[in-house]
Subunit: 259 residues, 2 copies
């Protein structure tokens, strides 16, 4: 069975999420599959790793070419556990993450556990894909997104990806007939504007739920936001260098000025 490609599947909505079952379905038959999923919701966990409590893993399913574990960790912990504990450094041919319940376009890529898992895998030069469907409904219809994911998975298994690059794939929540195709995009510039409404508990204590809405500052036609608003699947190639290269020269004067 060693000839089949080794596919690792991660998510951030937890091992019981419909989006995870959908991604497993999308990859079925394409390789030996190892699923490592958090034991509950880990949305908005970004690239967090668990340092203050120990990690545990529990095997839930073992069948031919299909093994499924849950863990108390974050999505990035799941990747590290897969690589180092469960696979003992066996080479992973493809890591796929999702399908996330809700968009991870634009600035959301920074908050996303789904995409952090893909980026983490790309550090080891594993081709990695994060999938998100533009519906937060836990019971959303994933039929079309499964077809899209399977097409892209097959393509990446065949063609690979550039070194240390992962793909952030967002899928509009529309009928298949209304989807206009795929666009290679860049991350739109924007930010999340929070609403932190105060609540009062029965003992008089005040608490807040974090919620907000995305403010888009960037409507160019090459952005992920534009593609999604126009019913295209958005495919953003992602890398991990956060340096503001364009400002290095203007800041060079500080080397003398501050010292």
């Amino acid at each position: 069975m060693k000839d089949l490609p080794l596919i690792v599947i991660i998510n951030d909505d937890g091992h019981e999420a419909k989006g995870l079952a959908s991604l497993i379905e999308a990859a079925k038959g394409l390789g030996r599959i190892l699923v490592v999923a958090p034991d509950g919701p880990r949305s908005g966990m970004s690239h967090a790793i668990t340092m203050t409590v120990p990690l545990r893993v529990k095997k839930l399913v073992e069948e031919e070419n299909f093994t499924f574990y849950k863990t108390n960790g974050t999505p990035v912990d799941c990747v590290k556990l897969a690589e180092r504990v469960l696979l003992k450094d066996e080479k992973i041919d493809l890591l796929i993450s999702g399908i996330n319940h809700g968009s991870n376009s634009a600035t959301s890529v920074l908050y996303s556990g789904t995409m952090a898992a893909a980026i983490e895998a790309s550090f080891a030069n594993v081709p990695a894909l994060g999938f998100s469907l533009l519906s937060f409904d836990p019971d959303a219809d994933f039929t079309y997104s499964i077809k899209v994911a399977r097409k892209i998975i097959k393509n990446v298994l065949k063609e690979g990806l550039p070194e240390r690059v992962s793909l952030n794939i967002n899928i509009p929540y529309v009928d298949e007939k209304d989807c206009k195709g795929m666009k290679i995009t860049r991350q739109a510039k924007g930010y999340w504007k929070e609403e932190l409404v105060p609540y009062e508990d029965p003992h008089g204590g005040i608490y807040y739920w974090l919620t907000g809405s995305f403010v888009n500052l960037d409507n160019e036609e090459d952005t992920d936001e534009w593609a999604l608003a126009n019913n295209y699947v958005s495919i953003q190639p992602v890398q991990d260098d956060m340096t503001a290269h364009q400002h290095i020269n203007e800041l060079k004067k500080w080397e003398e000025e501050i010292d």
Copy 2:
């Protein structure tokens, strides 16, 4: 007192960390200070936000031009609470984060709660600085790093920063006389190689602690790793666009191919 600049201070090691007290000391007298710190260690929390439990804030100190809150949230939650709840959208003149106990150079910027707080503030065009000292010792000597931080804080209060750019400042743990100055740097390419050693609990259960070492793949003289290894303070300008722009054209063919 409205004429004094408004300075918000965040960290990820928690409200009792020596590094936080050190950063407060570095900023003392330079403005009205609001501290919002997690109620315990939040290392490695990256850009995580809290979505499954409500957020609470508690005022610990209120003096003239100095207010100090703790919260159960992540470093990024602290920024959002400061902006939206505690300051009710009053314009922040400077956000500073740290001083972190341990390096946040190279790929660590992606895992860092310290830097995530700075990046979050930069979304609202607040000049933002993350400081890290290259010692994990909870009782490290911050004397020199306080001097460095104060110099840089003063400079940024005077000159500002480019729009939507924050600075990732790493300070070598050496005597002042051995520090060679400041370097504007870029993020070195590398990755964290984990060691997940199995432990057994008294009931026979197996668990793992996440730990690892950084593998540097990039020793060029313009990197943060080179600067720190050569006893320079590293100042990396950071932005939030994670798009792999250099690969957009080669991937464009997929738009037809996959569809």
